[in-house]
């Protein structure tokens, strides 16, 4: 464990249903500052839903979401905007703005939320793209990038404002093992720089590489939680099946 034990993200008895399907069922979770927390689970078990709750893209039916001790439930649009400035989100399919160049994507948060000059914004966006090895793709359109490059460009955009929290949805999805490892390494670098990571994945090698702490979500409930080695020793068959798998994205 690399960070302090102060929870920077807290899910407090959170429940969420879609129609009759209960996706999150009384989930309580503390994520300490500066750590990498990995949420595991099969497809459709509510991992991405949990992530969307943390950034306020979804609201819980019951329970509270606290970011740095602040309940985001009662916040209006302006309050939520302020909270979101401190959170980066790397989407499963990158979700780059396809009407903008890669550079404009990386510069977008800076242009929206800082008073930097055009020159400074361009320099910073260049630097963020250089951090993920994409400095030469500044003027390309997202459609001209490979899947791995899109993920890296989206990571540069997510880190543009140097947020304290980075949410990552399925970093290995649709990527080959080598590219997947490159993305993992970039995320580990972010963790070393002090960013709190909340990663959702069903890729165990990726989870082992990134996570300080892992948790397994099943049928909307947390069924196990601990370090990778603790989960390796867990006797629960589902946990064993998961931890022994080598499933890729």
């Amino acid at each position: 464990m690399t960070g302090s034990r102060d929870p920077i993200v807290r899910l407090d008895h959170v429940s969420k249903s879609f129609g009759t399907h209960r996706v999150l069922d009384d989930v309580t979770l503390d994520i300490p500052k500066g750590t990498a927390f990995v949420l595991l689970g099969r497809s459709g078990t509510g991992k991405s839903v949990a992530l969307r709750h943390i950034i306020g893209l979804m609201r819980p039916d019951a329970g509270r979401i606290l970011i740095e001790g602040r309940d985001i439930g009662p916040l209006d649009a302006r309050g939520l905007t302020e909270v979101r400035k401190h959170i980066g989100f790397l989407f499963q399919n990158a979700a780059l703005f396809d009407s903008m160049t890669v550079g404009e994507n990386a510069a977008f948060p800076l242009r929206r939320h800082t008073r930097l000059s055009d020159h400074e914004i361009r320099d910073r966006a260049q630097q963020k793209l250089a951090d993920v090895g994409l400095e030469r793709e500044f003027d390309k359109m997202p459609a001209d990038l490979s899947g791995g490059m899109k993920k890296r460009a989206a990571l540069a955009r997510a880190m543009a404002l140097d947020p304290g929290i980075l949410l990552v949805d399925e970093p290995s999805a649709g990527l080959d093992p080598i590219t997947s490892r490159e993305i993992d390494e970039l995320l580990v670098e972010r963790k070393r720089a002090g960013t709190t990571l909340v990663v959702v994945t069903h890729n165990i090698p990726s989870a082992r590489a990134i996570g300080d702490e892992l948790a397994l979500l099943h049928d909307g409930r947390l069924v196990a939680r601990g370090t990778a080695s603790e989960l390796d020793r867990d006797r629960e068959p589902l946990v064993q099946a998961f931890m022994r798998s080598q499933g890729g994205g």
């Binding site: 969307r52 950034i55 306020g56 893209l57 649009a77 905007t81 302020e82 979101r84 400035k85 959170i87 980066g88 989100f89 989407f91 499963q92 399919n93 979700a95 780059l96 703005f97 396809d98 977008f108 948060p109 929206r112 939320h113 955009r157």
Partner: protein, 266 residues
């Protein structure tokens, strides 16, 4: 699996209709309110005016010119029976400026711009770009929908003035070919019976058309689901629904204009 009874199906369809209408009305009202609240996103509005307005100009000018030619031929055929060929320019200008121009511009823009807005926002919805905007602490509704609605409202009267102009020009060309009327005389006769009250209310009513196009297309884009199929559907429905609403609203707007100008403009 047996189908539910007819009454249930009619009831479900009626509920669906009212839910859709209520939801669309709420969306439109919110767009109206948010248009007057900062941040105003001037850059995005200007970009959309360029996209919707300037890029629609060729379509508008060519269509307007063709409509002018056709109207001129019809007007000549009708007025010639009464020996009133001298009124052809004025009759054409009145018909064009008071009704044909605004309505045609509305329908053309709903086809070109409405389809584009529905498809663009729909594609952003299914590729999570709208969520990405929100995650980047940007009010996606304001950034995507309100800016487009404002741009449509601003662009529509300008495009209407252009289609009017192109139509009168088309009418002149058709008349010049048939009767050899000089252009000075044609334009003088065109504007003899025209008053500001013919031009201004008819042109400004297209701001309502623009509002309807922007709101309907943005709403359908925002509520897109089912991947690329949903995007195509949003695009098609945007055109159909905006066109219907333009025609229906035109009936009401014409009635309102006649209320303020009871005898009709001179």
């Amino acid at each position: 699996m047996p189908q539910p009874p007819l009454v249930d199906r009619v009831g479900a369809a009626a509920l669906g209709f009212f839910e859709f209408t209520g939801s669309l009305a709420t969306f439109g009202f919110r767009a109206l309110v948010d248009a007057f609240r900062p941040p105003f996103e001037f850059g995005e509005i200007a970009r959309h005016i360029y996209q919707f307005g300037l890029r629609s100009m060729p379509l508008i000018l060519i269509s307007g010119f063709a409509i002018g030619v056709v109207l001129s031929m019809h007007t000549r055929a009708t007025l010639a029976r009464f020996g009133a060929e001298a009124l052809i320019p004025a009759g054409l200008a009145l018909a064009l400026i008071r009704e044909t121009g605004p309505l045609t511009a509305g329908l053309l823009v709903s086809g070109r711009v409405g389809a584009g807005i529905g498809a663009e926002i729909g594609a952003m919805r299914v590729t999570e770009q709208i969520d990405a905007l929100e995650a980047n602490a940007v009010d996606a509704f304001k950034y995507l929908a309100v800016t487009r609605v404002i741009a449509c409202v601003i662009a529509m009267p300008l495009l209407t003035a252009m289609i009017d102009f192109a139509g009168i020009l088309g009418g002149y060309v058709a008349e010049a070919v048939v009767s050899g009327m000089p252009w000075q005389l044609y334009f003088e006769r065109s504007f003899t019976y025209l008053e500001y009250s013919d031009f201004i209310p008819a042109t400004l009513k297209t701001m309502v058309f623009g509002y309807l196009i922007g709101v309907v297309a943005s709403y359908l884009g925002f509520t897109t689901s089912r991947g690329t199929e949903g995007v195509g559907e949003a695009s098609t429905r945007s055109v159909v629904m905006a066109s219907i609403l333009i025609i229906l609203s035109d009936v009401i707007l014409v009635k309102i204009i006649f209320f303020f100008y009871p005898q009709g403009p001179a």
